[in-house]
Symmetry: C3
């Protein structure tokens, strides 16, 4: 059973996560796979301007979006096959970032002319990028989100830009205590009584597992659960993996029975990729195992994502982000609630990672 910690914690500690240096040695979701194609996509990640495109082999490519000659953005140029040509003076770089053509003067290629390139891996309909030390980029460490492209599921994707540090959104997602209040209109989870709750840490992962036993199927499950279930067990298993991907596995089973093939369940996938210290690319999707051919359910999730994740969650995150720089002047004595427990575990791990990178 959760306990409310009644000891106020320092404002400095409460706000430190928003000022913590961004973690560099990690896989981040850079884009949906469908965003990366023939046309160059300009996107800033960890405050580095990138240009993304897909080589003729289909392989996705990420290069620094800055020509080393005059700093012109590469995405203002054009592709010559798999090479990128700077639109200003015609320097060409191959997909590995090496300068391969200098049309100026005698054509000698300046030895240091190159674009930094970044490892990319396409997986689960998304493209993952490694912004740190190349030598440490092991694709085996990309978190498993196989449910996204599981052919037995239907996935509805979405995303938006958030004007806050990514941690405002990570803390939001790890904290289920806000659902009843911020999403009271949309989540429909009134009257839930928790029967079991486990919060824990596994290496660079934090989980929060909740079970509500013997209740009518709640919220969106009410519509889609098997009609012969009078009562159900409802679970919400949230798993954060460092630094900023979150899986929310939720579903219902017949009351008293174990989770089973017939369970109605849903994977929420949330990728918070820092654009800068104070802005975030938020990619998300929901992968369901029920009514997979019903487009009205697609539409339901599409609307729900827009309402709950953008209009509700991100609106609060952005409002908080505007107030954070003032907290010292306003001398707010901040308090800690039990719902922050998972977030505390998350921050402990990220503090260690950030410390190790410095």
């Amino acid at each position: 059973m959760e306990q409310s910690m009644t000891i106020g914690r320092g404002r400095e500690k409460a706000l430190a996560p928003y000022f913590r240096p961004l973690i560099r040695n990690a896989w981040y979701c850079a884009a949906w796979a469908t965003e990366v194609g023939e046309t160059m996509l300009a996107r800033r990640i960890l405050d580095i301007p990138l240009v993304l495109y897909r080589a003729e082999t289909g392989e996705p490519v990420a290069l620094l979006d800055v020509c080393p000659h005059k700093l012109a953005p590469m995405h203002l140029g054009r592709r010559i096959g798999d090479n990128l040509m700077c639109g200003y003076h015609g320097l060409q770089f191959d997909k590995g970032g090496a300068c391969v053509h200098n049309p100026q003067g005698n054509g000698v290629i300046p030895p240091h002319a190159r674009l930094r390139s970044f490892p990319l891996v396409e997986r689960y309909g998304t493209v993952w990028i490694w912004m740190g030390d190349r030598a440490l980029a092991d694709p085996a460490t990309i978190p498993n989100f196989g449910h996204i492209d599981d052919p037995k599921r239907k996935t509805v994707t979405g995303g938006h830009h958030v004007a806050s540090n990514y941690m405002m959104m990570v803390e939001n997602l790890m904290d289920l205590g806000h659902v009843l209040y911020l999403h009271g209109q949309t989540a429909g989870t009134d009257g839930l009584v928790l029967s079991d709750n486990k919060v824990g840490t596994n290496d660079n992962s934090v989980f929060d597992h909740r079970l509500y036993s013997d209740i009518p199927p709640p919220g969106i499950f009410a519509k889609y659960a098997h009609p012969d279930w009078k009562s159900s067990d409802f679970w919400t298993d949230i798993t954060w993996q460092a630094p900023s991907v979150i899986r929310n596995h939720t579903g219902v089973s017949p009351a008293g029975e174990a989770r089973q093939a017939s369970s109605v369940d849903l994977f929420g996938s949330h990728f918070l990729t820092p654009e800068t210290q104070n802005t975030t690319h938020y990619f998300y999707c929901h992968s369901r195992n029920f009514l997979t051919n019903d487009s009205s359910v697609d539409e339901f999730f599409c609307n729900w994502q827009r309402t709950a994740l953008k209009a509700e969650d991100s609106r609060v995150a952005e409002a908080i982000a505007r107030l954070v720089p003032e907290a010292d002047d306003l001398d707010v004595q901040m308090v800690f609630l039990s719902t922050d427990r998972s977030g505390v575990r998350v921050n402990r791990i990220l503090d260690e990672m950030a410390h190790a990178e410095q």
Copy 2:
């Protein structure tokens, strides 16, 4: 008789008022009474974000608009009776700012959880706020603006936001020398000859009383003065009260006679409330004792306020505010004119008040 002071004063001294720390121990106009109701009103005063509302008893309430849990703005939540509930995690605070409900975990209320509250007094159709030390907040020191809700008068209100320090507007209002130039089109005060002028200081108040004897009723009074007056005495009595409220009592009497019940007069009330160091809430109204049932006169004042106070005065104040940070780089050698004399007195008092508060 006024004297033009021909001694240039230092730029540093001339610009210091705009950088002076805001006075905290003072009553400020926070809102028109009609703005404060059931719905929460978010307003920043002295750089503190506030939420204002009216309790079920009718009493106005001002609380810090920042939840001490995660810094979410309280105005994004909702009222539960007289309590405010944070829209993020459901913490509830009563109208005194005490946290009275924590729906998270075991429900224990963190001992330091509270919203700072601010004394409010409703008077003259306006709501006055004390942003400083509560112990010093004496409602008896709220300046008298009883003419605003005097049933024998008709008051036309208005207001706008000014992108300048409040002192640009205070100096503007205390300095009648600008009227002929900035409001030449609207004030209609050509050809006035001053017959008497007194400038003085009373405690935390500065006055500038002017009399123009034996002239045709000027400007707006020409239309509304008694038709059998061939000549009139016209007076303008400006009174500033620290830190930023100004009453402009102006009117006409039959020439040579004392002010009397039959005088046609007008109280201009001007409340300059700092939003931040560099932005201002400007509330104003004009309370006349003539043609009180004539809505075309209401409209005249409404238009006049919009033209003279916003399009003319505040436009210049904002233009000056943009140039102030550059004055040193431009090396402007500033000059002092006789019309600044009242402003000098005002600044002397505010300097002392600010010094006492540091």
Copy 3:
């Protein structure tokens, strides 16, 4: 023959021109002569806010746009004959900047009350301003752009505001290597083979002369060259004069013959006037000696200026300006190309001028 320098140069050196203090003792183009008239024109040059107007004699006037009383912008006031009256309190200044009337109080003019005035010279349809030490302002040093108002030519003018330091545009104009890439669609100079190229320095001027012999008239000249020319010599003579005016004399002659009266030629005039350290007023025009009465050719140049100079050149300059502050964080190892050679000479001169002014 050009040589590509393959030695990378330091980022610090490459970016220094954009941070170099602006040159003050120099003539800058302040405005087209037609912009300066009865109405006051507010314009910031070298980060100094100016008001420009034309006195009744026709002489152009430039004064500081800041009243020394309260810092109100003078351009919000109005003209009283050749004097400017501040719109706030009525101080009047003559066209030399002296305060000549104080309507406040006893009317004594404060001895230091004045507006700084700036030498202006009207020449070639443009107005030139000297922002530095008046004693050094010698109109004989205004660069010769007599082709602009040469009655045998037709000139098409244009201009726009650039959100970059002026040097991004100066380097752009001095570097012909970008034409084929950035203006590939508009310049039509494919297949040019350089037969002669001279880059040199004369005092405070840098030139880059190029000759392409025995080719079909290129680009815009193809349309307008004499139809009986089977082949032509095409030249491009660029001349920069410190700090930021550039003349681009380009044209075609019958192949093998010297330049002659029958040559079809064109003077491009480019005046880059710093508004601030990071923004620029860009004035330009093209003066042709062919089809001077054909308005469709006027329209061609008008469109071409908008496309090549604004949509292409300035778009890149502005994109670079946004990346320059990040170059250190991104750790870009910048490279130097042969096309930068003229720019290096320009920067060497400007470094010396800036050093001499400090």
